[in-house]
């Protein structure tokens, strides 16, 4: 990648622009204080906390089951994965076994949620590149199919509150499996059409290739995770590295980018959607019968101790660090939010690029403010 060095002849004086909390493309309330020299970004300082609700303090006065609706509100675009990560942490803490059918149901739901969340990420990223609302609307149409399935399973479209410690709250209705099978059959077709819309578009290539590069060692050093880390060439996926629940029974591969620029992050997310479809096909095929929830008292009282349960969410490694003092409420509830940590290198990735690139780099990290501010 050639960089032209430019000695400043005319001494322009950089001015500070606030890409403020209420800005059309900040995916929520997030402020970027940018010092600009003309169009070029000299420095950028992220400011957040506008959506801070103190979820970690709230969780300390709720029982282990009552915390689940709170985890819905963390990363509201992938709340099934939040529920699942929390339940994995509590099950590790209290040593609760999960029946076979519940494990399969959890994998099916988590992978559907990953596709829905990646659709959001890709749609909003392409919209930030300027394609006027078309990718977002195609994306919403695809995501609508998945939300219908979730509505059928748990009655809600965004805050599901579906997983429980020890399994899931309700079993699938009998028309769910045919609907998912139909979805898995059609989705690759829709995905191909979605890709043909913008995948090789020259203007998108020009805008996204080589822009906002996160080098490999910086990606590891800032603790990035998920598509952001994998796009920089690090094949680290918790489902493969530390397989939780029954992910070791499915074979799928982990797409890895090369250059770590915005285009690679976009490509890695689209490839991951295809891999999720592959997992779904295998999970649907051998879904066993049986119980969906193990015998767990309504007020779970895990032994005093601590546990760190994590899973591979669509945005990265989502972890819950729980400390229990033997009472019915968690003593300390800490969320390892992937997008909060992926933002650490945002200013390094933006320095030197133009204002238009800042929006694309920010969009390609695919943050969710509910999780960043907690």
């Amino acid at each position: 990648m050639t960089t032209q060095t430019r000695e400043v002849v005319v001494n322009t004086e950089p001015f500070v622009v606030n890409f403020g909390p209420a800005h059309p493309s900040t995916h929520g309330v997030f402020r970027m204080r940018m010092t600009l020299d003309g169009e070029v970004i000299v420095d950028m300082e992220p400011v957040f906390g506008y959506l801070h609700r103190g979820i970690e303090k709230l969780a300390e006065e709720r029982t282990y089951t009552q915390v689940i609706p709170l985890t819905d509100r963390l990363d509201y675009l992938a709340s099934m994965n939040n529920n699942l990560a929390y339940c994995l942490a509590v099950e590790k803490l209290a040593g609760i076994a999960v029946p076979e059918r519940a494990e399969y149901i959890r994998v099916i739901i988590a992978e559907l949620q990953r596709i829905a969340s990646h659709l959001c990420a890709v749609g909003f990223f392409l919209n930030d590149c300027g394609a006027f609302m078309t990718p977002v609307l195609y994306m919403l149409r695809e995501r609508e199919r998945i939300l219908d399935l979730f509505d059928m399973v748990c009655g809600q479209r965004l805050t599901y509150n579906y997983m429980r410690v020890g399994g899931v709250s309700q079993d699938f209705p009998d028309e769910f499996i045919p609907a998912v099978a139909k979805f898995i059959g059609e989705m690759p077709g829709w995905l191909d059409e979605y890709e043909r819309l913008l995948k090789e578009n020259e203007i998108l290539l020009a805008r996204a290739k080589g822009v906002g590069i996160l080098p490999r060692d910086l990606a590891i050093n800032i603790g990035a995770s998920g598509p952001v880390l994998r796009a920089s060439g690090v094949p680290w996926d918790i489902r493969k590295a530390d397989p939780y629940s029954i992910y070791d029974r499915f074979e799928f591969d982990v797409p890895v980018g090369l250059a770590g620029d915005c285009y690679d992050r976009y490509r890695v997310r689209v490839e991951e959607m295809r891999q999720s479809l592959r997992i779904l096909r295998q999970a649907i095929k051998d879904l066993p019968g049986g119980e969906v929830r193990s015998q767990v008292p309504h007020l779970i009282r895990p032994p005093a101790g601590e546990a760190y349960g994590h899973l591979e969410g669509p945005r990265g490694e989502l972890g819950f660090y729980l400390v229990s003092d033997g009472s019915i409420a968690p003593y300390r509830f800490h969320v390892r939010a992937p997008t909060f940590i992926n933002l650490t290198a945002l200013s390094d990735m933006m320095r030197g690029w133009k204002v238009a690139d800042a929006i694309i780099v920010f969009g390609s990290i695919d943050i969710c403010m509910g999780e960043v501010d907690r």
Binding site: F48, H52, G54, I222, G223, P243, Y321, H334
Partner: protein
């Protein structure tokens, strides 16, 4: 499968290098004295056998008579993980050395612990509140915050 290294066999290695800095070695975690934190952390990151190059999570806990900061370390190369802990006992202004120079992922996380729990990290590039506005007094996640 990420192999969770137990505190005991790591202690032997560390005791050889830095005698007397390991306060207590439990089965799956390793408690280090506050002031020896940066050397041990540097040692864990740079020695070829261990090389924990990926700090997954930094979490602060308020146990009323002391504050505890928990570092979840992972090594991407060897796929093993370790839980490192450090405590600070005085409640007025608890302080710990910052590990931002080793892992930049601690930058935002330490700022958040400073903001919500009040533990200040010496050596942090810009230690100021991250989730709350600057004029806010008090640290909400402390047990005695009402």
């Amino acid at each position: 499968m990420t192999l969770a290294l137990s505190g005991k066999d790591i202690t032997k290695k560390i005791e050889k290098k830095f005698p007397g800095c390991v306060a207590e070695a439990a089965a799956e975690s390793l408690l280090v004295k506050g002031e020896a934190l940066s050397e041990v952390a540097a040692y864990l990151k740079n020695t070829p056998g261990l090389d924990f190059d990926y700090l997954t999570a930094v979490s602060g806990v308020d146990y009323l008579d002391y504050f505890e900061v928990v570092y979840h370390l992972t090594s991407i190369k060897h796929n093993h993980s370790l839980v490192l802990k450090a405590r600070c006992y005085n409640r007025e202004n608890p302080a710990l050395p910052s590990v931002v120079s080793l892992w930049r992922t601690a930058d935002f996380q330490e700022r958040e612990i400073y903001d919500l729990l009040g533990i200040s990290f010496t050596g942090h590039p810009n230690l100021k509140r991250i989730a709350l506005w600057d004029g806010f007094e008090g640290h909400p996640l402390r047990k005695d915050f009402l």
